[in-house]
């Protein structure tokens, strides 16, 4: 849900505050560049792919006797690190969300 809203950066003082609104469709993308939500989705797809690559490399070494140890180790390490990145990003998002929620209106 945190990726579903954009905080309005400019507020017209004469209009009543409308507060936080749900993200509109493609129109908003053009003004804000790539939206945060799509970045997150891409990241998750990437991580999934890295995990799959690691699994494939492991299967190659163990089952087919065709891969090499270092390929499997490197793939595992990459997948592990990406996952950690994801976790850190998630933590930051949660922290940011909690900060926002704490703001008194």
């Amino acid at each position: 849900m945190t990726d579903d809203f954009l905080i309005r950066s400019s507020v017209d003082p004469l209009k009543p505050l409308t507060g936080i609104e749900p993200k509109k469709a493609e129109g908003d993308k053009s003004t804000e560049g790539v939206s945060f939500g799509s970045v997150l989705k891409d990241a998750i797809t990437d991580i999934n792919k890295l995990q799959n690559d690691a699994d494939k490399a492991i299967a190659k070494v163990q089952l087919e006797d065709a891969g090499s140890i270092h390929d499997a180790m490197i793939a595992l390490e990459k997948a592990g690190i990406s996952f950690q990145v994801m976790m850190q990003v998630r933590n930051k998002i949660l922290d940011a969300y909690q900060e926002v929620m704490r703001m008194s209106v």
Partner: protein, 141 residues
């Protein structure tokens, strides 16, 4: 893949050299054998090596260069027998000559040293590979 292949290659090298050493020991042990079941004195045995190409799907670049080794053939050397005059010997022929095996001890000893040097080289290659594989497992640590 590469370490299983390498183990096969060095393993083949080790066993081929060992067989060669067996052949050499047989020659040394029989240096004065003057009668054998097939008749005549002991004939020196020689072993040759042959390369044994590995099948498994390699890059075409590497295909010819990666070979194990195997025993080629074990043959008898048919010449170089010495005749010694010794009528009292149980295996003397009608003229009193005994045919001694064509084994030259010096030659055999040299071959033995060469074979064991080659054996050691293969063993070192094996250790190197094992060490590399173990080290590769440290990537994540």
């Amino acid at each position: 893949m590469e370490f299983f292949t390498t183990f096969k290659i060095t393993g083949s090298g080790l066993s081929a050299q060992r067989k060669k050493m067996d052949v050499i020991s047989s020659n040394i042990a029989n240096v004065t054998t003057t009668s054998t079941p097939e008749g005549g004195p002991y004939k020196r045995k020689m072993m040759s090596f042959a390369s044994d190409p590995l099948e498994k799907g390699f890059d075409l670049d590497l295909k010819d260069a990666v070979n194990a080794v195997k025993v080629g053939q074990v043959t008898d050397e048919k010449e170089g027998f010495k005749k010694v005059f010794d009528p009292a010997h149980p295996d003397a022929d009608k003229d009193g000559f005994v045919t001694l095996p064509n084994v030259n001890l010096m030659l055999e000893m040299t071959d033995l040293i060469t074979a064991s040097r080659a054996y050691e080289a293969n063993a070192t290659a094996f250790d190197a590979m094992k060490n590399m594989a173990l080290k590769a497992m440290d990537i994540g640590k």
